[in-house]
Each structure stands twice: as C-alpha cells, then as structure tokens.
Amino acid sequence: MTETRAPSLLDALIPMVTLVVLLCLTIALFGTDATGGPLQVALFASALVAGGVAYKNGHESSAIRDAAIGGVSSAMGAIYILLGVGALIGTWNMAGTIPTVVAYGIELLQPAIFYLCVAIICAAVGMVTGSSWTTAGTLGVAFLGMAPILGVSTTIAAGAVISGAYVGDKMSPLSETTVLVPGLVGGVTTNEHIKGMLATVIPSFGITLVLFLILGLTTDVKGSAIDTDVARAALDSVFHIGPITLLPIVVLVVAAVKKVPPFLSIFGTAVFTGVLASFIQPDVVKDFVDKPGQGAVVNGIEGVYKAMANGFVLHSGNQTIDDLFSRGGMSGMLTTVWLILGALSFAAIMEQAGFLDRLIAPLVASAKTEGRLIATVAATCIGLNIVAGDQYVADVLPSRVYRQQFPRHGLAPRMLSRTVEDTGTVTSALIPWNSCGAYMTGVLGVSTLKYAPWAFFNYLTPLIAVIFGFTGFRVDRIEPQLADDLDEELHGH
C-alpha cells in the first residue's frame, strides 16, 4: 500500500480552480440551460482533476473510486425522495389534486398579494412539516400552477415558495438541520438554537415579505395568459374539482405525522393517488392513456404506471391548462439525479484527499475578530455549498471545525449554530448543482439560476448574519472564564 502525502494548498487549489473555471465557462456558454447536461460534464471533469491530484499524492485509484461511490451513496436517500416526488406530482395532477388546490387558490388569492401569501403559507407549512423539500414539492407545485392563471411571474413565485419553505425548515423543531446543527456544535439545545435564529430570521423574512408585497403591488397582471373565470371553468370541464381530490394530501400529512419514512410515505401516496384517479377522474385517465376500446380497469392500471414513470399529460384542448398540469414523472427527475451524482462525486474526492480541510485551515487561522470569525464561517458554509454540492456537508463540517473557535473569542455556541444555519442551510437552494438547488429545479420546473434572484430570504439571511457579526448587534457573548470552561468541555468530547 502506498503512503499518502498531505496535500499542499496548491494541490487543493487546482481542483477548486478547475471547478470555478469550468462552471463559469459552462454558464457563460449555456446560460440557464446549463443544468440540462453541461454543468454535469463540468462537475465530472472537475472530479477527474481532483482524482488526478489525489492520485499524485499517493491515494490509490481504488480508494478514490470508493470515495466517489461513498459520496453518491450518502445522497441515495435524497435521490429516492426526488424520484418519489416526481411520481407524486404525476399522479396528483392526474387525480385532480393539484388542479383542485389551484382552482381554490385562484379564487382566494389576489395577484397583488400572491407572492406575499405564497411566502407566508409556505413558511407556515414548512414549520409544520419541518421540510422545505416536502413544502416545495407539494404546495409549491400548486402555487406555481396558479401563477400563470393569475398573470403573475412563475419565476418570482418560485422565489417566494423557496423563501417561505426555508423559513419553515429553518425554524421548525421537526427539521433535520435544526436538530443536527446544535447537536454538532455542542453546548446549545434545539430550543435555544431556534430562539437564537429569530434575531436574523425576523429582519430577513420581514424584508423579504415587504419586497414580495411591493413586487405584487407593482405587478402588471395584464400579461395573464388566461382569465381566472375562464381558467376555473376550464378546470371544471376537465377535472372533477372537489374535496375528495384533496384526500391524498390528508394521507401524506397523516404519514408525516406518523413518522413513516419519507420515501415510503411519498411513493405510497403516489400509488394511492393513482388508484384514486381511476375512480374520481375516469375520463381524464381514459384520455391520458388514449387507447379507445380498452377496459376501465386496464386503463386505470396503465394510467398509474405512465403518470408515475413519465408524468401526466393532459389533453383538454386548452393549451394553457394543458401546459400547467402536464407534469411530473420519475424520468423528469433524472437530470437532477445526474447533477447530484456529479456534485457529490467531486465533493467526496475533495474530502477523501484532504483538500477541503486544507482549504479551510487558512480561513480558521485568519479569523481574528468576532466579525471576521462569523464572516469566515459564512464564507466556509457558502463555499461548501458550492464545492461540496450538499447542504449537510455545508452544515456539518463548519459546525465541527469552528466549534472551538467561538468560545475562544467569547462568543456563545448558539452564535455558531445560528451562523451555520443562516448561511449553510439557506444558500443551498441558490446553487444549481447543490442537491437542494437541483431538487427545487426538478420539482418546480424553474431553473435555479432564474429563481435565485427572487429567493430574497435565502441571500438576505446570510447578509444580515455577517452585518450583525461585524456590528456586534444581537451577538450573544459568554464570560471569558466560561469561554475557557466551554473550551475544555468541547475538548473533552
């Protein structure tokens, strides 16, 4: 077995620069279409360069391969959920679940307050479910369906969905990251962590809501593709709209409350909804399968397969309605899965070869003041979301690396857990190749690069966290002697 050498900073910089160069050139060449394949090529090429430098440092090719496979394996749970949500969107459209939410929504919501309401409702649902992914993959999809009918921007609506979903995810005690981060930092409970985050979430979400209200009030709704009444009539003529079509939502919520594993609850609900569609939307299923003379039972079974595999396609004769509800399918998620495979292969090799630690080491050493320490944590979290392409890496690594630095600077541990969540958790949705950004694009059908400027909450929160860090406003400190005690306690772990 060959001896591995510790990487120099140059070793660590070569794959990083390769990634930056290839990503810049890819986006410059392909614009927002880059996520359809070119970004994946850039990520795999960067992984190849990272592997080459690791090999030069004595890492065996089998170890590099195993690291890449291990990195991809860590995302298998997310990939299953992604495929499950694809199937769910397909059957929910076929069964009229999403059309019913849209039909009710366009009657209740006015264009002027649409973005505002979307952000608030997604935040509330996100807090109840504790998951930004569930919120965006279910309610978010319905809101995106309402946007063109109300004549408002789908792209801004996607920004509102993501802003709200991440507020809920961040502030919910049911959220995995909200529980995980304080646990990793140590010396702070989940409740203290949530209370600590209010200091930055209240101003950033407040500004976000004001911006969405202003955007809503200044929106030109003349561009509406279809009149609300016409849309409602068209929906009624195609689907059976009624409370029974909302039964799948109840099933999903009950499964979540009963803590059924996410993939099982999502995929199980997708199958249940597909079967339900045969009973409550028989004409829609018949048109979708498009095999005249075939029996209703075979039509129903075939419809479930097709909607789950390749997505639902509506043939109502109304182009706008057809475009809105012809969606979903597991196959539609494969580009996103491809993106996640590329990002995590690169990240896993970077971690295995010690390149990530080598890049972070000078940052840790240079953080001399409170403000710089908080800004450094923010830069590390955002950088890891870009390089590692996964929210968990961006949350876990800084929580461990900086946990001794905060008490040394007289900063309370909850300041670290707050900063990690303010930067690592929320910026993950702004990176196209990050599993979160890729997921949001997959379910909402809007490119990350298009919705990112409108996901105000996701970039205002890190900005406010850094500003508060430099000004000392709402920065929680601990006594120096307590800092020493805590330092010893952390060393003891």
């Binding site: 900073l9 140059l10 620069v17 930056v20 160069v21 986006i27 410059a28 614009g31 690069l449």
Partner: protein
C-alpha cells in the same frame, strides 16, 4: 440575467483570472518547490 452578454463576459473574466491566479500562486514562494523565482535567486552562487 445570465443570458446577458455582459454577465457572460464577467464569467469568462472570472475564469481567466482564476487560471492566472493559480499559475501566479504556483510560481510564487508557496507554490511548486524549485519553481519559485525567489527560491531560484536564493540558490544562485554569490
């Protein structure tokens, strides 16, 4: 925004700067051993 020509040129400029920066670092005192102009100067006999 990303379909804007100016943004595309900025991205190309960032890519070029990243390459130039990496080469400058590699040739600098902390870069590849023996390739630094400073270190070469040090080894020149008086």
């Amino acid at each position: 925004v990303l379909d804007n020509a100016v943004v595309r040129w900025v991205l190309v400029a960032v890519a070029v700067l990243a390459i130039v920066g990496l080469i400058a670092y590699a040739r600098g005192p902390h870069g590849i051993p023996g390739r630094s102009p400073d270190k070469q100067h040090e080894t020149v006999p008086a």
